[in-house]
Amino acid sequence: MAHGPATLADGWRAYISRWVFTTNHKDIGTLYLWFSFAMFLMGGAFAMIIRAELFQPGMQLIRPEFFNQMTTMHGLVMVFGAIMPAFVGLANWMIPLMIGAPDMALPRMNNLSFWILPFAFAILTSTLFMEGGGPNFGWTFYAPLSTTYAPESVNFFIFAIHIMGASSIMGSINIIATVMNMRAPGMTYMKMPLFVWTWVITAFLLVAVMPVLAGAVTMMLMDINFGTSFFDAAGGGDPVLFQHVFWFFGHPEVYIIILPAFGVVSQIIPTFSRKPLFGYSSMVYATAAIAFLSFVVWAHHMFTVGMPIAGELYFMYATMLIAVPTGVKVFNWITTMYKGSLTFETPMLFSIAFVILFTFGGFTGLMLSIAAADMQYHDTYFVVAHFHYVMVAGAVFSGTAAIYYWLPKWCGKMYNETMGQVQFWVAFIGFNIAFMPQHFLGLAGMPRRYADYGLQFADWNMVSSIGAFIYGGAQIMLLYNVIATIRNGKPTTEEKTWEGAEGLEWTVPSPAPYHTFAKPPEFK
């Protein structure tokens, strides 16, 4: 090792240069994680504005135009700015450590794929300050609301999406190249940690569908600026085409978000059960099966759009099938715990809550797959509740679990267990108070993306808003816990932070040195 990374002691210029020009997978992982947390707080702030406005019937704080910008930006920032970069950050940090590689296969591209992201989100959020406001057509940006009827800032939105897509594709290529070429001797595919497996499959999904999204927004760009009519019925186009293209990207996208979360939980549950993961190979096959199915179910988001009945039936049956591989995963996690020796540290609490709440979201997902019932659920708060159970209690809970689980490895300090558990309970209770009532609201008939609602929905909206504020507070606690750990946490130098942890990342010292596995480790 020639020299270590520049620290603040070397002066500001050297310190900033380190982060801007870094090709080190740990530095880039850290950048991704901090960036995604910043975006998470921003998207959360948008959510707080939404819930504050919905606290009571009537418009009290903002105008409906701005409300629509908030729901749109909340969705876009959370999906593309918070959750996806967070898992790319985890991949950057952990995949080389888990497979015994010295770094990612393409370190310079790794730097580029991160550093274009802040620009994308700067462009996206700047639209809020433009004349006419930011994107106000929902994160699904259905045409023609997002084309003919969009504010002028839509072109900036399209450009931002293109940059995000480029970033995701580069990140994915890097992960695929790393895993295919840089595994330690003896690390065969079927011996890779499950987090690595889920990420490889996710990376293939990303490479396949981000260009589809790019195609969708490019067609929008043409419709808006160059007189084409892809999505304009008056010019011979079809607004429904947009939905098909969007959801051909959009459905794999939700698995892009959740598969790495499955991977994290599949690392943590065996550790705190002190028992190997049950059904490793079936976990791999189930992940692949879910990825495959994600490509053939997209139109279940469009049951009310007027498809022929044969199409409806096909998409209903195919969607129901997803329950099988997902069920296999849940059963495997629970059987991993069975006859283990369980302890309930913070990462385990978040993982158990993940299994329970994600499964609950899976149940409502199964209900939504039934087309006849979906005619009533579609575009109501029932759907909002469903996808927050799988996205928040799924992806965000597992991301939080990952932070507590690997933080000691990253910074060589131990978090405060009591603080961690308190944060878990606040998040868990707040989450359920916020989103459980939304099931009732949706079934009772409240549509989503409503700036205002009738008096019959007042009670549960108020409960939901209170829960959302509690859940928002829990994220401030998480930020506090992480910073407090980095600054004042109890130093830990043991390689294996957790008694039951297995894998190569637990064979390097804590904190993980700047360069690891310069010589490939032996893996049996």
Binding site: I309, V328, K339, M375, P447, D452
Partner: protein
Amino acid sequence: MLKRARALFLSLLSLVVLLPLAGSALAESSASQLNMPQGVTEVSQAAYDIHMIMIWVCTVIGVGVFGFMFYVMYAHRKSRGAVAENFHEHLGVELLWTIVPTIILIVMAFPATTALLKVYDTDNPDIEIKITGYQWKWQYEYLGEGVKFMSELRTSDDEVYGREPKGEHYLREVTEPLVLPVGKKIRFLVTGNDVIHSWWVPDFGVKRDAVPGLFTAGWAKTDQPGTYVGECTELCGQGHAFMPVVVEVKEEAEYNAWLANKKAEAVEYASTIGKEWTAEELMAKGEGVYLQSCAGCHQADGGGIPGVFPAIKGSPIALGPQIGHIAVLIDGVPGSAMQSFADQLSEVNIAAVIHYQRNAWGNNVGDVTQPIDVLNYKQSK
């Protein structure tokens, strides 16, 4: 402390599992809505039935799976002295928990298919109604009857913005509801004029997207007279939450009387097109039409919203030749949010609103636009 926390954890988790159960029980016992309405049509009943089947299937599976999980979390804790075993696969159970869910899904597919066939059974209607979604109102046209009208939110901005107390029917009241007879099969043909909307009446189990350039069909037949309220369920811009659906189902005789009355109104209206209107009449009528149909975008003071909706006050169109102004309203402006109002507003209303726009807020053009001018422009095309 950890012990207490653990107990709390368990009780909370069981709450999560039991809530759907509690939900279904409550829905039957009180008016407070927690569950999907059973509604008043075959379709809504079918949706409700399959919904309840799914809830029970999920509840049974959930109780089994989570019950086992809680047992494991209780029994195999390290603090109780549990020692980990080392098994990590078992082909038998893995096959079992792949095959059993598959069978359950196949069984559930049968009622799910039957219910969907019912939704799609739109053949042989007695009455056909064309529903068109506009930003932000609905148009109902009784096909073959010559009856057509707009249905818009009646709740005032003052109620929305808290300057007045909210009424009992806040956001659930419209200027003119859709009126239907009992006992007749009604087919709804739903389409959109500008962006995509979605026409939903929960009690009918009908939710059909209103897509420009496309018709989607739904149907309803009920024996229960009453007022049924629904919503727009596809994001359609700033007025998305402010375009409710209200349907009144009446006894057949009442319905026939209502329809005859609407037809007579249409005939009477036709006679007013040719009439010479005074500037004062047009100004008074035009202001009402403007506030109802134009002010949502162009604002009550005609100032528009810079960068989004152009101002009418001082605009070259409003100050230019009359015929150009009429053309904008009749043809719309392609490639912009300005739609054609030819089918939305009557000739009288278009003439009145043009007159108003040309003579309000300091736009003192001074000319008078007659309904007959609008009709002539329409017919010249």
